[in-house]
Amino acid sequence: MFRLLIFAFFFAPFLLAENSLLLDTQIKMIPKIMALDNNINQYNDTSTAMLGIVYDDGRSKFATSVAEKINLYYKGKVGSLKFTAIAIHIDELSARRDLSFVYLLDASQSSILQAITISKEKKIPSFVYNIADLSLGALGSISIERSTIITLNKNTLKSGNYHFNDALYQMARWTE
């Protein structure tokens, strides 16, 4: 038992490791999806939108690296929208009021559920790394099949009163 706990302590972060191709794809597309949010227009010229990379315990560095990678890739701007990606721990999520969009890295279901619940309360669109987590109430996820697939949760979209550009709707796959 002890051995098992030791193993879990050391290897738990490695058990949550993301697929690098999927991750790259997602971190390239998430800002673009965020830019299609009609409610973010208010940040166009005067403000900077905040893209929260939400992580669970033990994954701070990885989340930070993801945020840096996004910022480096987009150089703070996607289209006409200025934004900054930052890493945020799940526990900090409820306290933050400046987030425009959250991207949940792989985490435990409870953490994911927690983060989704918070983002719903704050009316912040939430995308999850793992498409299976859409069932927990996340707004969308990106997966790779023969092509890149954006999947949106219809119920979350309606209940959260989110408004994206129709282009997103037209290219998305829908789940309820």
Partner: protein, 637 residues
């Protein structure tokens, strides 16, 4: 159709062009109309489809997500377009989610397109959107089309008008040609100075000119022939006129000329001069000699200054001065006949004296007829001349004869020739052994015409044979049902007529009366035509018939002929019997006849037995049968 057939050529060409052109233009216009309209409508439809395609996906997503404001917002953007006349969106259950109707849908045409909305990225239908797009462009296009059509129509009408004028001007040479030819007469020279550039008309004109030349040549030829014919006709007419009015033998005027000359005055005095026994001259010396003689007579009459006409074979006539009295004429005629009798006429080397008879009509309105009557009268009276006397009623007698002839003919047609039968009584037994058939004509009122009134006329009008046949038919059929003998009178014309003999034989065979019939033949007939009568008697006796000689003793009775003819009865002439009781000479003759009859073994019949005294005498004399009013009048059986 009939009007078209009878229409002018220009009208036909015009109607044909208009009909053909109209059909062609109509087809083109209809094709153009449908092409323009459908093309424009398709363009508008494409526009409408494009318009729908701009919003259908977003509307489908909004519908899928149930975002009604978003749907309304998207569709409202379309309603701002003037061309959008109505929009209707309904979900898959058919519930209308959005409906828009433009305030004034005044367009004639609208294009309606419908698209099915699908769930994003699937083929699952979630709604239907229908958009009605304005057909204003179509209206405008069709307006211009109709405008163009009106312009084309006006231009066409003007073109048709011009076409009429053009066709008429093209065909004008034909009309001019027809007018020139309308009153054309052969030989006339028509100048065809018709201006036309059409090669066809020039060909026609050339053909007409050639024909005209040909007709002119023929006309000249025909005129020349006609002139010759006219000359010939005039000569022939003169010749015919001469022949018509003149006798070719004597060159005297003929009967026709006399009739024409007699028309100048209402009454004329003429004399007809007939040569006596001229037929014998012809028969003896020949016709040529007769003609020569006639020429000499004509010449002599001319010498007498009589201006004669030859009106028949040996008849000449002359018109006498109208102021001559009957006595003067009588004197002139006597003098003329005397001179004629003294005149020597020559045939070959022979010299002749001729005689003539003259008939004269004085101041007569029918001089030829009356002179002819007078001539006949002179012949009958054996006189040299006679003058027509109206009081003698000869003309009335002719009229009576004509009327009787018609009456006989009508009676034959209407079967009014009837027979009565007079009994012939056996003097010894007093019984009726025979009947004599007597013919009558029954008038329409039922009265009877006796045979003496019509038989002589019938004999001269060839109706006698028909009467004989009728009598034989009736008598034979009457006595076919009786037992007595019966007699029928036959004339020489009957006996000489083979058709009647055949008829008699046929009827006798049919009725079976041959052995009871007695044919009565006049004694005189047997003498004049002995051979024919003997042959007839022989044929009848072969059938079983018997023969009686009628009116025996009236003429120069020839006993030898009676013997040769082998007759069965002698009917003693009534003139001998009628006064036998008072005239001893008649009695002697009758006794002689009876004696002759007894000696040769034939029976006798006495006619005209009109009293008991006569009957007693004839019976005492030994006559076998008696016939007369005393023993029995003619009656119908």
């Amino acid at each position: 159709m009939k009007y078209f057939q009878n229409a002018k050529l220009s009208t036909k060409i015009f109607i044909s062009l208009v009909s053909g052109g109209s059909i062609l233009i109509l087809i083109l216009l209809l094709s153009t109309y449908f092409i323009v309209r459908n093309t424009t409508l398709d363009a508008e439809k494409q526009k409408a489809n494009l318009l729908l395609e701009t919003i259908d996906k977003s509307v489908a997503i909004s519908l899928f997500l149930g975002i009604t404001p978003s749907i309304n917002e998207k569709l409202d953007t379309l309603t701002r377009l003037e061309e959008v006349k109505s929009i209707k969106l309904s979900n898959e259950e058919g519930t209308t989610l959005y409906s828009y109707q433009a305030p004034n849908p005044s367009d004639l045409y609208t294009v309606s397109v419908t698209q099915t909305l699908f769930k994003p990225n699937t083929l699952h239908p979630i709604g239907i959107i229908t958009l009605a797009y304005s057909g204003k462009t179509v209206d405008e296009t069709m307006y211009y089309f109709y405008l163009l059509l009106a312009v084309i129509s006006i231009i066409s009408i003007v073109a048709l008008g011009l076409m009429i004028v053009w066709i008429k001007s093209l065909l004008r040479p034909i009309k001019q040609l027809a007018m020139k030819l309308h009153n054309y007469t052969p030989g006339e020279n028509i100048s065809f100075n018709i201006v036309s550039s059409q090669l066809e008309f020039l060909d026609i004109i050339n053909a007409f000119e050639a024909m005209q030349k040909s007709v002119r040549n023929y006309s000249e030829t025909i005129k020349a022939i006609n002139r010759g014919l006219e000359k010939t006709i005039i000569e022939k007419t003169k010749e015919l006129t001469k022949n018509l009015y003149h006798d070719t033998l004597t060159a005297l005027s003929n009967r026709l000329k006399l009739q024409e000359d007699l028309t100048f005055y209402p009454k004329n005095t003429i004399a007809i001069f007939n040569i006596d026994d001229f037929k014998e001259v012809n028969d003896f010396f020949g016709i040529d000699a007769g003609d020569d003689l006639l020429y000499q007579i004509a010449y002599w009459l001319c010498e007498m200054k009589l201006e004669p006409y030859r009106i028949g074979g040996d008849e000449f006539a002359t018109i006498l001065p109208r102021d001559l009295s009957a006595e003067e004429i009588q004197k002139d005629m006597e003098l003329l006949l005397t001179k004629f009798g003294e005149r020597n006429f020559v045939i070959g080397e022979e010299t002749f004296h001729l005689r003539a008879t003259i008939g004269v009509a004085i101041a007569s309105d029918k001089p030829l007829i009356h002179a002819d009557i007078a001539l006949n009268k002179a012949r009958d009276l054996k006189k040299n001349y006679a003058i027509y006397d109206p009081s003698e009623g000869v003309e009335e007698l002719y009229k009576t004869n004509i009327a009787m002839s018609a009456q006989i003919r009508q009676a034959l047609i209407e079967h009014r020739i009837v027979c009565q039968y007079q009994p012939i009584v056996n003097c010894r037994t007093g019984k009726i052994d025979k009947y004599e058939t007597l013919v009558r004509i029954k008038r329409e009122d039922g009265t009877l015409i006796p045979p003496n009134d019509f038989l002589p006329i019938a004999q001269k009008t060839k109706l006698y044979s028909k009467i004989t046949q009728e009598v034989i038919y009736q008598a034979c059929h009457t006595f076919s049902n009786r037992t007595e003998h019966f007699s029928i009178n036959l004339s020489s014309s009957d006996i000489l007529d083979s058709h009647i003999i055949t008829t008699i034989e046929r009827i006798l065979n049919q009725t079976g009366t041959a052995k009871r019939i007695v044919f009565e033949i006049l004694e005189s007939e047997g003498i004049e035509n002995f051979e024919e009568v003997a042959s007839f008697i022989s044929r009848m006796k072969d059938l079983g018939a018997t023969i009686a000689i009628d009116d025996f003793g009236s003429g120069y009775s020839n006993y030898e002929n009676i013997l040769k003819l082998n007759v069965d009865f002698l009917k003693i002439d009534g003139s001998l019997i009628r006064n036998i009781d008072q005239n001893p000479r008649h009695r002697i003759v009758v006794e002689s006849i009876i004696d002759f009859a007894h000696r040769i073994g034939i029976e006798t019949i006495a006619e005209f037995v009109s009293s008991e005294e006569i009957l007693t005498i004839v019976a005492d004399l030994g006559i076998t049968y008696s016939q007369g009013f005393h023993t029995g009048k003619p009656q119908f059986l």
